[in-house]
């Protein structure tokens, strides 16, 4: 049994962790935060992406005990300027970039991290930032078009 301290979406939690529990399972099963999804348990698909001390990680690959003392942001912790959708969420919703939605929250977290560092990414930069997020429904085009700065969103145009 290990006692760990985590700040999740601004709230501090003291938690006892027994055995090899992943951060993903901790979030979903102990804290009831279902936004991060389990799809492969091996860090291949990015559906479980959260921000750990500001960096996107696959929460299925992080042991909860190793996250002791860190700050976690999940999709539930995002909000826009007036408490509504985060601009990344709004853009994906407006541009038809969500189909089944299972990968979406992970993509949102990767995109939030990108746009914090680069507010006007090119289509190529969006693709690189999302290279660790698998989506089986959209073919990514609508996602890239929603997130890339308009003048660089060449995806969908002739090469």
């Amino acid at each position: 049994m290990t006692a760990i301290r985590l700040t999740v979406n601004g709230t501090e939690h003291l938690l006892d962790v027994e055995g090899p529990v992943s951060l993903l399972n901790l979030l979903r099963e102990r804290l009831g935060l279902t936004g991060a999804k389990n799809a492969c348990r091996q860090g291949e698909c990015g559906s479980c992406t959260v921000l750990l001390d500001g960096e996107p990680v696959c929460s299925c690959l992080v042991m909860a005990a190793d996250a002791d003392g860190s700050e976690i942001i999940t999709v539930e912790g995002l909000a826009g300027p007036e408490g509504g959708l985060h601009p990344v969420q709004q853009a994906l919703h407006d541009k038809g970039a969500v189909q089944c939605g299972y990968c979406t929250t992970g993509i949102v977290m990767s995109a939030v991290h990108l746009l914090e560092r680069n507010p006007t990414p090119t289509a190529e930069e969006v693709k690189e930032a999302l290279a660790g997020n698998l989506c089986r429904c959209t073919g990514y085009g609508a996602i890239v078009r929603a997130l890339a700065a308009p003048e660089t969103a060449t995806d969908g145009e002739a090469p």
């Binding site: 099963e29 291949e44 959708l85 929250t105 693709k127 609508a142 145009e157």
Partner: protein
């Protein structure tokens, strides 16, 4: 065409989009019930074996284990896991648990325990004594004389020829192909093979079951077919249908793999035996191995044309590997012909022969494209060869031969889904527009005329033409219930199953259009067998066309009721008033709001619930059409193929929601590019899948895909809702043949086996002395 509509034809946001994008607990696996038992699967390590003895005692005695299920303590009747209309056209060759296992990954036992870890731990305490049998691990091995008989059980039903491992067989002949080929100036014959591939939805199969307050069984599950599921589970467990409620929440992708009953029978039995909630979720590895796959095929195609470039005869001989069970075997086999051959109706002589073969390999099933994908590859590459032989541009060959409006194909009547088909005259066909718009956007003429590259990286372009269907005529059924609320809003209740495709949204748009309100005034509730009317489910590109028509009919009936009430209020004739902008307007301009109409119906004179239920059983299945164009760069030193550009020009009739329709095509093309280039099961010599995870089974990532440009051409299907046809499947059929034809254009080398991995391409180039 869509300019005459207000809500239809606009790219409305998804009605479930906010819940999805904020991570609300909307998926089956997000449900968190107290006292849940967690299930784990003991899968067969052998491709073919009889269970001599199974001792579950050690596992059952482990503290925290509630139940161990094996063939010794579960129902023994045979069924098909295929969620199809009743009676299912798939053989009843499966049991909940069997004393014989038929592939590596087959069900042997399931443990229900207090935690997932305990359940997995208990699996190792189940002792199984297997009599290992010779296995048939390829089509040829299963068809060889003296091959092991995979279904030797006496109680299977509906198998075509079990002693010869044939799940199904077909032979359809129109005209006289042998004589016709003798009359041709050019004949091309090719044999192609396609691989095991998987849908790989991001959400694996997951089911949670529990008893409600009245002791009824609730299955909260990721399914495409809630009503078929309810029927099949009721039969397996010998429960009355009304004791079962199936709820489909949001689903994390299906693509056909969730048109199966894979978890729910076992979850249901655990809950019935223990009274406790049960949860079963496939691991990613189990999803690859024990769920369903795209049936591999070996298909020989022979095409012949007269001197005018018009096709005279087409033969297709398809051998399908259905794996250990025959789910969707006959119907995928027949769709290989019925979703390709009608495209070229100028050929008067047609022959389709097919066999579905059992092997000791993973199980085939429904997968977007459903046979059309597998058969498009040989047919469209054969036509590319034929065009070259005739000295015609590949587009020109299609122009001389494609089906058109007002025309038919004998295949429509000959080949149905497990029985004869339904004759149909094509009423909407914008293939010429698809070819023109696709060529122009792609720059076909210019790119096709470029001299062949001679360096290490060689570019080339290829194209192909496709059709699919819109539901299964005279078999599928959709129904819709609409009821009105006293604020002028409506509830739309539909059994149809939104897999992430957006069908809840587009069905809401159809209702809003008829009722003259904004989409926000329609509350869409779907896929709950307790509360929504019957629907066969989301498969065969049925929802837009079939359920959409049911929604339109229900809305028209509601519209009539509103007119009658409003006419009394406005003291005019029901036929004289019009609905629009949330009001009912008399010819003289006076109006009442819909809220006032419903409030009167609730509380005023002649009170009644404004509402209606309507159904649609389609009499035909109008095909969407697609012209597909691909540009590739082939590195002849490494065999690497990169797709540089892709254009899909599609006729889907009226796009109810253009952005969602484009998204369906874009996503299907991306999936098809993975199928064409990288996605493939690899097996050990013993028949075990070697790459059952997302690191070694390569589905496309952002950086792997070209721009996929989708063009929706102007078209209107008079039998469809607001002129619509369905669109979800067709896009996946294009990449394999278009890319194969482009590789040929780039290098002069023909590839006859998918996927076109660097190794396979490199070998083909070396054999041709290139690179």
């Amino acid at each position: 065409m869509s300019d005459k509509f207000e809500v239809v034809g606009t790219s409305e946001r998804k009605v479930d989009g906010l819940a999805l994008i904020t991570g609300r607990p909307v998926f089956a696996g997000d449900l968190d019930l107290p006292h849940t038992l967690h299930l784990a699967l003991l899968a067969s390590p052998h491709a073919h074996a009889r269970i001599r003895r199974i001792d579950a005692g050690g596992a059952a005695r482990l503290p925290g284990v509630a139940l161990v299920l094996t063939h010794e303590n579960t129902p023994s009747l045979r069924f098909t896991t295929a969620g199809q209309g009743y009676p299912e056209p798939s053989p009843y060759d499966a049991r909940m648990f069997d004393s014989k296992v038929r592939f590596v990954g087959d069900r042997v036992a399931v443990v229900a325990a207090e935690s997932p870890r305990l359940a997995r731990e208990a699996l190792s305490l189940i002792a199984v004594d297997y009599e290992v049998l010779p296995a048939a691990l390829s089509l040829d091995a299963a068809l060889a004389p003296g091959a092991p008989v995979i279904h030797d059980e006496a109680d299977a039903e509906g198998i075509w020829d079990a002693p010869h491992n044939l799940a199904a067989a077909l032979d359809v002949a129109v005209g006289d192909t042998p004589a016709a080929f003798a009359e041709c100036v050019a004949v091309v014959e090719t044999t192609c093979e396609t691989q095991y591939a998987q849908h790989a939805p991001l959400e694996t199969h997951v089911c949670q079951s529990y008893l409600d307050d009245n002791g009824r069984l609730v299955l909260y599950t990721s399914t495409q077919v809630p009503f078929h599921l309810r029927r099949i589970v009721a039969r397996i467990l010998d429960l009355p249908i009304h004791r079962i409620r199936v709820v489909k929440p949001r689903i994390g992708g299906g693509f056909g793999v969730k048109q199966e009953v894979l978890l729910e029978d076992v979850c249901a039995l655990v809950t019935m035996r223990t009274g406790r909630p049960a949860r079963w979720e496939y691991t990613r590895s189990e999803e690859f191995v024990s769920a369903r796959t795209r049936h591999p095929f070996r298909i020989r195609v022979k095409v012949g044309a007269r001197e005018d470039g018009v096709l005279h005869a087409i033969e297709m001989d398809a051998i399908q590997n259905t794996g250990a069970y025959g789910t969707h075997s006959l119907t995928v086999l027949s769709n290989a012909g019925s979703k390709t051959l009608p495209l070229y109706n100028k050929a008067p002589h047609l022959r389709f022969t097919g066999r579905s073969v059992y092997t000791n390999l993973p199980v085939g099933g429904a997968y977007r494209g459903y046979g059309g994908t597998q058969a498009s590859f040989p047919l469209e590459t054969a036509l590319d060869r034929l065009a070259e032989r005739l000295g015609l541009d590949p587009v020109e060959l299609r122009r001389r031969n494609h089906i058109g409006s007002g025309e038919t194909s004998p295949i429509f009547a000959e080949m149905g889904e497990g029985r004869e088909g339904v004759p149909m005259i094509i009423k909407s066909c914008a293939i010429p527009e698809c070819l023109n718009a696709g060529m122009e956007a792609f720059g076909w003429a210019h790119k096709r005329a470029r001299p062949r590259d001679t360096g290490p990286v060689r570019r080339g372009v290829g194209m192909s033409l496709h059709m699919q269907g819109s539901g299964i005529p005279l078999i599928d059924m959709g129904a819709a219930t609409i009821k009105m609320n006293d604020d002028g809003s409506f509830h739309l209740l539909i059994g149809a199953t939104d897999l992430g495709t957006g069908s809840d949204t587009i069905l809401g748009q159809i209702a809003a259009e008829v009722l003259g309100v904004r989409l926000e005034q329609i509350v869409v509730y779907s896929s709950d067998t307790d509360f929504t009317p019957f629907d066969t489910g989301a498969y065969a590109s049925s929802t837009t066309y079939v359920t959409g028509k049911a929604v339109e009919r229900a809305a028209r009936e509601v519209e009539e009721q509103i007119r009658r009430v409003a006419a009394v209020m406005l003291q005019t004739e029901a036929g004289a008033v019009q609905l629009g902008d949330g009001r009912v307007i008399a010819p003289d301009g006076r109006s009442v709001t819909l809220a006032e109409v419903c409030t009167r119906a609730y509380y005023g004179a002649d009170q009644f619930q404004i509402g209606a239920t309507a159904s649609c059983v389609p009499e035909e299945s109008p095909p969407p059409f697609m012209a597909s164009f691909a540009e590739v760069a082939v590195d002849v030193e490494t065999g690497q193929v990169r797709v540089l550009d892709y254009v899909a020009a599609v006729d889907c009739g009226t796009p109810i929601n253009p952005r969602m329709a484009e998204g369906q095509v874009e996503g299907a093309v991306a999936n098809g590019i993975g199928y064409a280039l990288t996605e493939e099961y690899l097996f050990t010599p013993g028949g075990k899948v070697r790459n059952a995870d997302l690191s070694r089974y390569k589905i496309p990532r952002t950086l792997d895909l070209p721009p996929i440009r989708v063009i929706l051409v102007d078209s209107y299907e008079p039998t469809g809702p607001m002129g619509a046809k369905s669109i979800a499947e067709i896009g996946i059929n294009g990449p394999a043949p278009s890319i194969a034809n482009a590789i040929y254009h780039a290098t002069g080398v023909r590839l006859a086996r998918t996927p076109f991995t660097p190794e396979r391409v490199w070998r083909a180039l070396r054999e041709a002395g290139i690179g």
